[in-house]
Amino acid sequence: MELLGEQTNMKKALVSIAFGLTASLLATGASAQATLNSVKQKGFLTCGSNTGLAGFGLPDAQGNWTGLDVDLCRAIAAAIFDDPSKVRFIPLAAKDRFTALQSGEVDVLSRNSTKTMSRDTQLGLDFPVINYFDGQGFMVRKKLGVSSAKELNGASICTQQGTTTELNLADYFRANNMKYEVVAFATSDETFKAYDSGRCDAFTTDASGLYAERLRASAPDDHIVLPEIISKEPLGPAVRHGDNQWGDIVAWVHNAMLDAEELGVTKANVDQMKNSDNPEIKRLLGTEGKFGEAIGLTNDWAYRVIKHVGNYGESFEKNVGEGSRLKIKRGQNALWTKGGLQYGMPIR
């Protein structure tokens, strides 16, 4: 009978495991529907960030995350909690990022990821907005004497695996009938180190990344960025497909930052602007209309974003523009009124 008792216990254990497992699997399915609720419940936002890319997502000396992509996550947290520090950043390598988002490990992926059709339609992801328009370029050592990407026939090229960069590279060399040797690494850090140590003749990634990584080279002035831009890289935050409310929040936080820049609302003057008579500013800052409630937030959601993080232009200049070491020009990322592509949708 001793044996029988053991078997019964085992059966009980198995049944409970079965129920537990089933329940947990089902739970994962259900939570995909209401990211906002789960974020509010947790009390913080989990944001998939870069493992370290100056200007876009990088912890500073005190361990605070900074960067353009980081600011977007902080802005979302500010809109929800009125507190930009309620974010947990989870550094993700390029090859792990989409799985982390699909599986629910992060609520939003703000990590200079290119929007492509296959990612949008086959990975179960949505890219609600583009927060940085970029293109892929090459960096080489000056002493190689190369002045164009067309002269890279036979070169070995370091790149990060699991990126559109890896695919564009193959396309470009094929289209120009040139040979190359690819050396692919899992993280941007390993990739750049390999290039810097002389393993490769050229390093390729998005142009913004080239400028950011060059700062980390042992001798930054020994490297030049070649003039060719070989691809379109619209970079933006990604969310899980199917939770439209959450996608709306991410999209409108970015739009509000653009609108604020266009209307001249800044971190410094946002309190004064609350008394403005301009109806567009009134709608933006929530003194008129109930736009915040429509996306499940409070009506002063955009006020909170600008108060804590600032408008898009401020975030850009601070992180990658004139206020930073990168000194990247606004270019395509200027407002549409200044000849760029950044166009804030109207709040009304």
Binding site: L25, T99, G154, S156, L167, E181, A184, R199
Partner: protein, 400 residues
Amino acid sequence: MQTVVSQTSPPKKSFLYDPKVRGIFYQVLLIVVVGYLFYVAATNAVENLQRARIASGFGFLNNTAGFDISQTLIQFSAAGSTYGEAFIVGLLNTLIVSAIGIFFTTILGFIIGIARLSKNWMVAKVAMVYVEVLRNIPLLVQLLFWYIAVLGPLPQPRNSLEMGAGFFLNSRGLFMARPIFAADAWVIPAALLIGLVGTFIYRRWARVRQERTGQQYPVGLVTLGLVLGLPVLTWVVLALVGANPITFEIPKRGTFNLTGGMQILPEFVALLLGLTTYTAAFIAEVVRAGILAVSKGQTEAAGSLGLKPGQILRLVVIPQAMRVIIPPLTSQYLNLTKNSSLAVAIGYPDLVQVFMGTVLNQTGQAIEVVIITMGVYLTISLVTSALMNIYNRRVAIVER
């Protein structure tokens, strides 16, 4: 009166209390529960994937890959090859580094294991330091050491080290002359084959002869002569008569790097060195344990028969030690194969790097890719185990 003693059968128990029936019942129940669990998990995953609009199924293996890989043992190009072919490229890269690694680590492990037991104090201590240092540093750290600290500082291609005989060394790897075979080159492998067959016959003859007469023959020298000497001789003769069966394409300086010839990537070398030296430390301990397990009386008895120390080791000690060595040695082979997946840290395109890295990310089909990868490692490990078990059965003690 005669009483009939009835043959009473043991009291009839209820069918329900039959331990055998109960046993079967619970076994079946367990299978049903486990099966149900898998079924629920699978259907649930499929349902969730569909709801999240994540592509599923194995159709992606036929889609064009669109990326390139640095080391490909089969023809592979971004334009013409599929994800399925990328999988095969990764698999072959894993297999080749594992196979070569197992070969060298066995040799190195045996040498160090035997050296640790040497009567020479210096040799024994060097072997001990090797084992203690290598096996107590994480393999990942060692791989990075080989890749960054040892192979990284090699000269740039423009200052390649010329090592003679068509060998060059630089930060892009080891370059060597590529043999180009002419039409009549088949003579050389044919010579090698004749050499191998000849060796086999000679060895059998020598053994039979030795068992009958006690006379010994220089088996090693003859083997070397037949296997290596015969093909080389054939080649030299052919070259002398003017027919040149093999010509060499020597690497030349190109714009960026040496072109032509064959190239061995530094990633491959670093991974091979790391895996070989690390696993050898463990194999050395296995070998030492195996040799110590052979009783001292065996050595003394062999010595009293007049065998030399080398012969004692080769003919008496090692064959008996093998019985102890084989099972743990198998585990070390499996470890080496599985550890090869650390290649991802140094950019060697093994199965994990290519398939679970690039392919998974480009297709987004994590579940399928991970299942395939796990299946592959399981299969490789089981096959290695099976082969070693067959070998183990051959060397195991035969009870008479």
